[in-house]
Subunit: 194 residues, 2 copies
């Protein structure tokens, strides 16, 4: 079974579509982590961006870290994770962006120390979920602010019907999602984009 | 060079001892992640707990996730990360503990969904840092609450002079730290425990 089929099969088996367009995949992707599956996903992402000269992966805490780390292992590049709501420990010299969260109905800041992004970098964004695309947008703004090259974005699960992926693609950013969900209904049925 | 020497060498090269007993290692451990180094550390941890029948790794968001994931990959076991300040998404059915943070001078809650820890589990705690030991203590309480077996704790960097590791060891919990720092001075010198 291909890496993508592995993921889709797992979503159908263990994912739970809940009212309010919530997809719970916390048994393998964002609370409990099936790191073997994540490693396979990392291999697939690495294959898709092979030859693009990625020098660094940028993700966002917390649930992006695992898939980004396993992807970084396969691609042999370091991973930087953007922090939410900057702590004093990080120091003041940061790139930052504001992100609207629909899930939590609030706006938060993400930031990355200027030391870890440079204009010489070719950045791949990696995240577990893409829904409204606000987090990815914030990360892409940080890459732009750093003067680095944005190679694209790799996502485990895109909720296609929420439009964020298409919004990001319209900006000319390459988005590779391993599974795109086009429909979830109240009976818990999940339909993937063909 | 052994995995431990790799880590110690890196701490001396890239770590920064700051006033207030702060050790900044955000160039490779908790903001930018050297995933190749973390993988080597995972191999060393796996070797130390080989034969202990670990079924699952438990860590805490956010900076524990990377080292725990790479450790889980080597040990071929799933990883669960405790969430700070429970979100609505997680649902109500959780094990939780209260953790005092000295760095941020506040108390926060950590929680794990009851679905992902069972009395049949043999749990290894993994984290990037051990200082006062409050986070590790909270995780161990959650393991106890779940009725699971606590095999021990594996830590990347222990700040030995802050006493948390010894406090945890006095409770009879096996703690394996890859690097234990016994002294940091105001000139930025770092002394490892022999």
């Amino acid at each position: 079974m291909s890496e993508i089929e592995l993921l889709k099969t797992r979503i159908l088996k263990d994912g739970k579509a809940l009212p309010g367009n919530i997809l719970k995949v916390d048994s393998f992707l964002n609370h409990q982590l099936d790191v073997m599956l994540l490693h396979e996903m990392g291999k697939e992402i690495a294959a898709r961006f092979k030859g693009d000269g990625v020098t660094k992966i940028l993700t966002i805490e917390a649930s992006g870290i695992a898939v980004a780390s396993l992807c970084g292992l396969v691609m042999e590049v370091p991973v930087v994770f953007a922090k939410k709501n900057q702590t004093a420990n990080l120091g003041g010299d940061v790139y930052s962006a504001s992100v609207e969260s629909f899930t939590h109905n609030r706006t938060y800041n993400i930031c990355v120390s200027k030391k870890y992004l440079s204009s010489a970098d070719r950045i791949l964004l990696v995240d577990d979920f893409l829904a409204n695309g606000r987090a990815l947008l914030g990360l892409s703004q940080i890459v732009e602010e750093a003067g680095a090259e944005l190679v694209g974005a790799a996502i485990a699960i895109e909720k296609g019907f929420q439009g964020g992926g298409d919004m990001i693609r319209r900006k000319g950013i390459r988005v590779e999602s391993l599974a795109i969900i086009d429909k979830m209904d109240d009976e818990g049925n999940i339909t993937f984009r063909a």
